[in-house]
């Protein structure tokens, strides 16, 4: 009885070892499986995953309109104060005064790319871009204004 268990242990062990070796042998012989991207050489045809978190950008459509209402949900959600929303009051067609976005200040130097601001936004106005080469020689270039000059909110977002 003990001998049967002993021998069956040995055979099960050898079979599991060979299964493991088959997998690494497969990886060794199939070069196509290599997932390393040779970075500086492949900058033109680089393809990053869809959910890659680069930097925050505001989505503008072809009429230079965005969907940001200035609700400051992203500013409140950000853990370290990277976003600062500056709002202004503008007069609508009906003659009422409404709060609208003036400047969306984004400090790239402070951003941790945690994605909380994107999740907090109720109108999907901001998204994560796919570039990661943020090095600059001049620090002031890292403080960005995300809404394009001359852009305004799209109709029907509010």
């Amino acid at each position: 009885m003990f001998l049967k268990k002993y021998l069956s242990d040995i055979f099960k062990a050898i079979r599991s070892l060979l299964t493991g070796m088959k997998l690494t042998g497969y990886y060794f012989t199939h070069r196509k499986e290599i997932i390393t991207q040779q970075y500086p050489d492949n900058r033109e045809e680089m393809k990053l995953p869809d959910r890659f978190r680069g930097e925050v950008v505001m989505i503008h459509d072809e009429n230079n309109e965005h969907a940001c209402t200035g609700c400051t949900a992203c500013e409140l959600a950000c853990p370290n104060g990277t976003i600062k929303i500056i709002t202004k009051f503008e007069v609508t067609k009906d003659g009422k005064k409404k709060k609208a976005l003036d400047d969306f200040i984004y400090h790239l130097e402070l951003c941790t790319m945690c994605n909380l601001c994107i999740e907090a936004c109720p109108t999907d106005a901001i998204k994560m871009a796919q570039n990661f080469e943020h090095s600059v020689y001049d620090r002031s270039k890292l403080t960005k204004k995300l809404n394009n000059p001359g852009s305004k909110i799209r109709e029907g977002v509010e």
Binding site: I10, L17, G20, M21, L23, T24, G25, Y27, F28, R31, E33, I34, I35, T36, Q38
Partner: protein, 358 residues
């Protein structure tokens, strides 16, 4: 056909003609020493790079590929780095033993080179107890490891060295018994006799079942002997921070590092000699035409091909299996490998007496 014996004989006769016999012998010693050191250097270069590239491809990534075409000069860069690094001796370390330990390990690795037959007629010393010599001298390397652990004045190094010492001593038993089971078939400990007896086929084929079991036990045991994964608890990076060679840096660490890779080469060479025929080409008894064709491939190519195949197998083990704990390791040896190898020796003796091998 072309053979190394021509070169060695011509050098020998040239020396004896021009110098007195004693001086000629001393010259030959110097030449052999130089060749051994060159072999070590080349092996270090090739094996370190081979390890890095093989491990990379098994982990679906590329290895070093920036330094030289396909990363060929990476080891040169590594060697230069280790050569110019500061060799720090810890404060309370036993200076004599601390400095001696890497050299003990290195000298043992060099001494084991003597009986190995690299090609037809190309052996440094064909003594009549070749295999016993290899087994005995490889035990001396444990002293170097224990010295390194003790002299480092570091309790974790000492712990690593003790574990490594226990592991090496235990696995020598299984390795010795599996070597013995092939010696039962050949009847001689002399390496040239062992290779000559494989003229009509390698022992792993001729000795069917017991020889295959013997080979499997041998490969596992020598992986543990040379402290390679999955048995590398004593020196793995995340365990005990490199174990017995934690306190070594610079050239002394380079000697340990090199000695480890050369040890892997040597045990694979012994395995290739005993089980796969050393420099003997693949012969099948009865197929004369096939044998004749196989003879055209040079014997040194056969030897190095077999050895590097076994080295690749050992590297494959490293990157497939998880590491064993020290108690699991010793458990494996004393409860599984040793009884099986003793039983296998009995089986092999029965096969040899009854003539049931080919």
């Amino acid at each position: 056909m072309y053979s190394f014996e021509n070169i060695t004989n011509s050098i020998h006769s040239g020396l004896v003609r021009t110098l007195s016999p004693t001086v000629a012998l001393l010259c030959e010693f110097a030449i052999v020493g130089l060749c051994a050191i060159t072999l070590f250097a080349l092996l270090g270069l090739v094996l370190v790079l081979m390890e890095r590239k093989v491990s990379a491809y098994m982990q679906i990534r590329r290895g070093p590929n920036r330094v030289g075409p396909a990363g060929m000069f990476q080891t040169v860069a590594d060697t230069l780095k280790l050569a110019v690094k500061e060799g720090l001796t810890p404060d309370g370390a036993d200076k004599f033993l601390f400095n001696l330990a890497p050299f003990v390990v290195m000298i043992v690795a060099m001494m084991i080179l003597a009986p190995i037959a690299f090609a037809r007629g190309f052996q440094i010393w064909d003594m009549n107890i070749g295999v016993l010599y290899v087994s005995a001298v490889s035990s001396v390397s444990v002293i170097g490891i224990l010295m390194a652990g003790w002299a480092s004045n570091n309790k974790y190094s000492l712990l690593g060295a003790m574990r490594s010492g226990a592991q090496i001593l235990s696995y020598e038993l299984s390795a010795g018994l599996s070597i013995l089971s092939i010696i039962v078939l050949t009847g001689s400990l002399q390496i040239s006799d062992i290779i000559a007896s494989q003229q009509n086929g390698w022992w792993i084929f001729k000795g069917h079942i017991p020889a295959v079991i013997s080979f499997v036990i041998f490969i596992i045991a020598v992986t543990a002997e040379t402290n390679r994964a999955p048995f590398d608890l004593a020196e793995a990076e995340s365990e005990l921070t490199a174990g017995f060679h934690t306190e070594y840096s610079g050239m002394k660490f380079a000697l340990f590092f090199l000695a480890e890779y050369v040890n892997v080469f040597i045990v694979c060479a012994i395995g290739a000699t005993l089980f796969f025929g050393g420099w003997m080409p693949l012969h099948v008894s009865g197929w004369q035409g096939f044998n004749h064709v196989m003879d055209y491939i040079p014997s040194s190519l056969w030897f190095f091909g077999k050895t590097f195949l076994l080295i690749f197998l050992i590297m494959w083990f490293r990157w497939t299996f998880p590491r064993l704990r020290i108690d699991q390791l010793l458990n494996l040896e004393w409860k599984y490998l040793l009884p099986i190898s003793m039983f296998n020796l009995l089986l092999m003796t029965l096969v040899a007496i009854m003539g049931w091998h080919f």
